[in-house]
């Protein structure tokens, strides 16, 4: 078992116990990982596929996890990297849903319109209207509650980049679901 290597010299039973402890920690992190993955992917099926790939990679690379650091953040990073890889492979990176292709999300108060449909579907549509890098920052900070520094570590960018991505993401979301001068008429 890979994890046993971290505890070199210890008996196999200890290695298995450590491996099980790692798996238990992964299981504990799954609910938030699932939400993050579905937020990135835009739907439940693709999100769960992404979560499964993330967990498989995390288990295969358990020896790379640094004890004392946040397992959830480490898995968020794996998920984000896999998502980007997948997007590149599909030549979809940077793809945005043009606001003018989302007529049903707009109106006098787009948010009310969205709430009249499924909240989750509406939220997913809004998230899919922003670029991947902004969406990841938004999900990590606003939804998962990470600090700017933690989000910067997950996404491997400077803290200032997180701040600007969040501002742009919110501006874009305002265009999609909000009203006022920023709203698309």
């Amino acid at each position: 078992m890979r994890q046993a290597g971290r505890y070199g010299g210890e008996c196999m039973a200890a290695g298995k116990a450590a491996g099980q402890t790692f798996k238990d920690a992964v299981i504990a992190a799954l609910p938030r990982l699932r939400r993050f993955c579905q937020g990135l992917a835009g739907n439940a099926q693709d999100g769960d596929d992404l979560m499964q790939s993330t967990v498989e990679r995390a288990l295969a690379r358990a020896h790379q996890f640094v004890p004392g650091t946040r397992l959830d953040s480490w898995m968020f990073r794996i998920a984000q990297n896999l998502h980007i890889d997948g997007a590149r492979a599909a030549q979809r990176r940077g793809h945005q849903v043009p606001v003018d292709e989302l007529p049903e999300t707009m109106g006098e108060d787009g948010r009310v319109t969205l709430e009249g449909r499924s909240d989750l579907a509406a939220a997913q549509r809004a998230l899919q209207a922003i670029p991947d890098d902004q969406r990841a920052a938004f999900l990590l900070v606003v939804v998962e509650g990470l600090s700017y520094r933690e989000a910067a570590e997950v996404l491997e960018v400077p803290v200032g980049t997180i701040m600007s991505r969040l501002a742009r993401a919110r501006g874009r979301i305002e265009q999609v679901v909000g009203r006022g001068p920023g709203a698309v008429q």
Binding site: I27, R34, V55, L114, A123, Y148, A167
Partner: protein, 232 residues
């Protein structure tokens, strides 16, 4: 609105400003109605999206998905290992749904011409997985239902043969019938049925006499067939 103000607004919403920066920004909010409107808008959008996504982290992750991710041990095969009753008394086949779902593949065995009935039966018992019907050259159809091991090391199989159910054990000269009983259970193989047929008592005696183990699983039975029942 400038990028700088947008970024400070975002940081204010996220609690990422220092106390001094918070105080300065809130003074700006009081004097700038458009900024205040936008702050309220962004705050509402944040709350809406966060609330809409919240249930995703509350739904239980089912065991099948955990298994696919390598996070749950597979459920052990439900073998007849319970000591309340000998397995042949229980009204369930031991090989589970996977095998039960396969089925009724009728195979016409090529029996050597010199083969009298015992040879044809032996060949069928040697090569037919449980819950698969096999047609012998003489027109009979038999259907093995389970495999056990006798106390003396022989492999034994219960099988359905028309209106009867029998238990046979494999020796050096082929399979020998150890017991027979009338079969009244379902003959179709697409359901979990009565393992030992209707007259359980007759086969009970045979099972007791040979000192039968619990039935082997599908994987082990497949290996035995592949290896010609040579494993001891």
């Amino acid at each position: 609105m400038s990028d700088d103000i947008d970024e400070r607004l975002a940081a204010w919403l996220d609690g990422a400003l220092s106390p001094e920066e918070v105080a300065a920004f809130e003074r700006e909010l009081e004097t700038n109605p458009e900024l205040a409107r936008r702050a309220a808008e962004w705050q509402a959008n944040d709350a809406f999206l966060k609330g809409a996504l919240a249930p995703l982290a509350e739904t239980q992750i089912d065991r099948d998905l955990l298994k696919r991710m390598g996070l749950a041990e597979p459920t052990p095969a439900q073998m007849a290992a319970n000591d309340n009753q000998p397995f042949w008394r229980r009204h369930a086949l031991p090989l589970g749904g996977a095998v039960a779902a396969s089925l009724a593949a009728l195979l016409l065995l090529a029996v050597p011409q010199r083969g009298a009935e015992p040879d044809a039966l032996s060949l069928a018992l040697d090569t037919t997985p449980s819950l698969t019907a096999t047609r012998l050259a003489d027109g009979r159809t038999i259907e093995p239902t389970l495999t056990v091991r006798a106390a003396d090391g022989r492999w034994c199989r219960e099988f359905r043969d028309g209106a009867k159910t029998a238990l046979a054990c494999r020796g050096d000269k082929g399979w020998t019938i150890e017991g027979e009983a009338a079969a009244t259970g379902p003959s179709a193989t697409d359901e979990i049925g009565l393992a030992a047929g209707g007259d359980g008592a007759a086969l009970d005696a045979a099972y007791r006499r040979i000192g039968a183990s619990d039935p082997v699983g599908q994987q082990e039975e497949t290996a035995l067939i592949k290896q010609g029942w040579s494993r001891r």
